[in-house]
Amino acid sequence: MTTRTGWLSAGLSIALASALIATPAMAQAIKKGGTLTYMIPADAPPSLDGHKENTFATLHATAPFYSTLISINPDNPSSSTDFVCDLCTEMPKPTDDGKTYTFKIRKGVKFHDGTPLTAADIAKSWQYIVHPPKGVSSARASYMVMVDSVESPDPETVVFKLKFATSAFLPALADPFAYIYKKDILEKDPAWYEKNVLGSGPFKFVEYETGQSVKGVRNPDYYHEGKPYLDGFTAIFAAKQSVRVDAIRADRAATEFRGVPPSARDELVKELGDKITVQTSDWNCVNLLTPNQKKKPFDDVRVRRALALAIDPWKGAPALSKIATVHTVGGLVFPGSPLAANKEELQKIVGFGTDIEKARAEARKLLKEAGAEGLKFELMNRNVDQPYKFVATWAIDEWSKIGVKVTQRVLPTGPFYEALRGGTFEVAVEFNCQNMVNPLLDVAKVLPRSVYPENYGGYEDPKLIELYNSMLKETDPAKQRAKMRDFETYALDTQVVTIMTPWWSRIIAHRSYMKGWKISPSHYLNLNLANIWLDK
């Protein structure tokens, strides 16, 4: 018996060892060639300029054409600390008490027009991102408040000097929107990249049909040896989810990189079995219900507070998670992050209480006090099914329970952003979607627009800025967490500058032949397609 067991164990060991040996070997058997077709779940982006835009529609269409200085590790994209060089040669160690980062740049990198990419191009791109000249829009300037200067002392060196040391710098530097543009073009016409594409990334631009599709072909001069594996890609815009799911089902597309709802995942798995692979992750994304404080009666904090009190996230989140890409109740900070509020802390904030009837009674009282009984308003939303429209339908019903009547205005992405930026809305379903889980910067979304250009609440609040700056410069984790609570309480409870909805849950269903891609907590990350190959 012992002998037999011994043989069995030995046999199993050999089999296991063979499997262990075989797995890496199989994983390395990358097949080159083929064209990846994927769907972009949006209509035409406002522009193709990554520096200016904040929407995934721009990124999903253009990321494969561009390089960045550093990026998240594509083999470990769930990590919030694992960064790798893209254009640099090695990740630098900070000097000058953490205030100076010196990057050495790869030699021989070329833009797709054949001209060399140097440190000057990187420095100029980052200068425009950090300190955009007058008339130039940078959606990420506010993330880089810690940066004092960006210089290129020689063609192979870029130096970032910070105003203060902060752990938020490197994650901010790995921003996937931070495309490296050509210095000459930027200086000549900073708006050129809004309608044109010229990068140095793994794929060369072929064509863009506005709101229809984007095509790219393999860049033979790509500096990461052997990559990309694909011959090219075609990205097809389709705002309607049914179109995208049908495309994946019929194998007209391999996937979409944003996320599908549970119903679509179940449908695809049921119909396609092992031909579909599902990857899931928490998602560093949340819809915000933001009142425009430049419009009455939303300038009255009692009205904003009433709107927050009417919503029951604890009951809504589990129900919505069955039909929409949302899952977790949370405050300003990505749930699960060490800086996030725990349940007990959350419940002290308005709109997160557990006695919803009491909260709604208080909401009615506040509306009466504010002279806003029978309030009617228009909720502006984006023409994206998941989860925008689901969240809106839920919120409208919740508000109806305190006697507030809400109609909805749905706009395509371009006009939606125009309306947000122009302040032509009463309350908007907007979002805070970040790439890296970098709470210190992620929460900057609620800072006034004078500090954070993508804030649309129409308010100025020096105290909020002061609380934020104090937190950003704090290096002690415990004190930083306490300051985050102060900041969060002031934003969500004292001023109610926005109303949180459940945080998103990311589900990617892709054809099983699509290999080499790993999910991350953001639909902005890991999208340059350089690692993807087709097992066909």
Binding site: K240, V245, K389, I396, T407
Partner: protein, 293 residues
């Protein structure tokens, strides 16, 4: 003398007799009218007959199949489908009737005016109509919504605009022949104003084709509204609207909860079918040539 007496009797025939006559001669049209009346009654009395609040979410009852509690099942938010369809009738009929009447009357005015004044006025108006007619109804409606945005009022505008030239063209054709008849010349020579001649002598003579077109327009408008809502460009959640219900249900739950899409689809099909049957029958009843057959 005898003939005059018969005509007088015919004119004085009661509504009751006329309705019975219509039902006897036009059974299909009567069926269509019945559908239209049922839809109208449902829309008008939605508050009293709908078993549930059509916009109230019930997370305990998400995607439930038809049952005694929910005769037509529930949607993904747990909302009662029967209640949403009943309220949706109101949305469909409001948009259908308002678009058809506004578009129809604008077309009537332009069509009769164009025929009556003729010359340069007619030329310019008809070229404008040609341009508008060059676009299919739904494309034109899409363009209007793209410019002015979504919402009930904008959807009504979007559907009304393309209906105007369609009505104006038909009415003009009828009005052109009326313009040449002697009593119009007589009215002119008597010194009657243009408005009086148009309103009292021309418009009554184009009422028959106008009414027929109106019924057809209501059906077209309902279909256009459903199409716009289905495309996400019409009425928006949580307003109950049939096309919108199709959009939400047909896309995600076609295989797992087909009732979400089937019942609103049936409501659209039946109502448009009803208007179509009624319109055909009305034409047959009003047109003297067809009436004699």
């Amino acid at each position: 003398m005898t003939a005059v007496t018969d005509d007088t009797i015919a004119v004085r025939r009661s509504w009751h007799d006329a309705a019975l006559g219509f039902c006897r001669r036009q059974p299909l049209g009567t069926f269509g009218l019945a559908i239209v009346v049922i839809a109208a009654l449902a829309g008008l009395s939605a508050e009293w007959i709908a078993p549930y609040n059509p916009t109230s979410n019930d997370f305990e009852a998400m995607t439930q199949p038809p049952s005694l509690a929910h005769w037509l099942g529930t949607d993904q938010f747990g909302r009662d489908l029967l209640s949403r369809i009943i309220y949706g009738a109101r949305t469909a009929l409001i948009i259908g009737f308002v678009s058809a009447f506004v578009g129809g009357f604008a077309g009537l005015v332009l069509g009769v005016g164009s025929a009556y004044f003729g010359g340069t006025t007619d030329l310019i108006l008809q070229r404008v109509m040609d341009v508008l007619m060059a676009f299919p109804l739904i494309i034109m409606a899409l363009a209007v919504v793209a410019i002015f945005g979504t919402g009930v009022q904008n959807v009504i505008a979007a559907i009304t605009v393309p209906l105007i030239p369609r009505c104006a063209r038909v009415i003009r054709a009828s009005a052109l022949s009326i313009r040449e008849v002697p009593y119009i010349d007589a009215a002119r020579t008597s010194g009657f104003s243009h408005a009086r001649i148009i309103l009292r002598h021309m418009v009554p003579n184009v009422v028959a084709p106008f009414l027929i077109m109106l019924t057809a327009f209501v059906g077209q408008a309902i279909l256009a509204e459903a199409s716009l809502s289905y495309l996400g460009l019409g009425v928006q959640e949580p307003t109950p609207a049939w096309g919108l219900m199709l959009q939400g249900g047909a896309e995600e739950y076609a295989s797992t909860a087909p009732w979400i899409a089937v019942f609103p689809g049936l409501a659209i099909a039946l109502t448009v079918f009803g208007f179509s049957l009624f319109g055909d029958a009305l034409r047959d009843a009003i047109d003297p040539k067809l009436r004699e057959r």
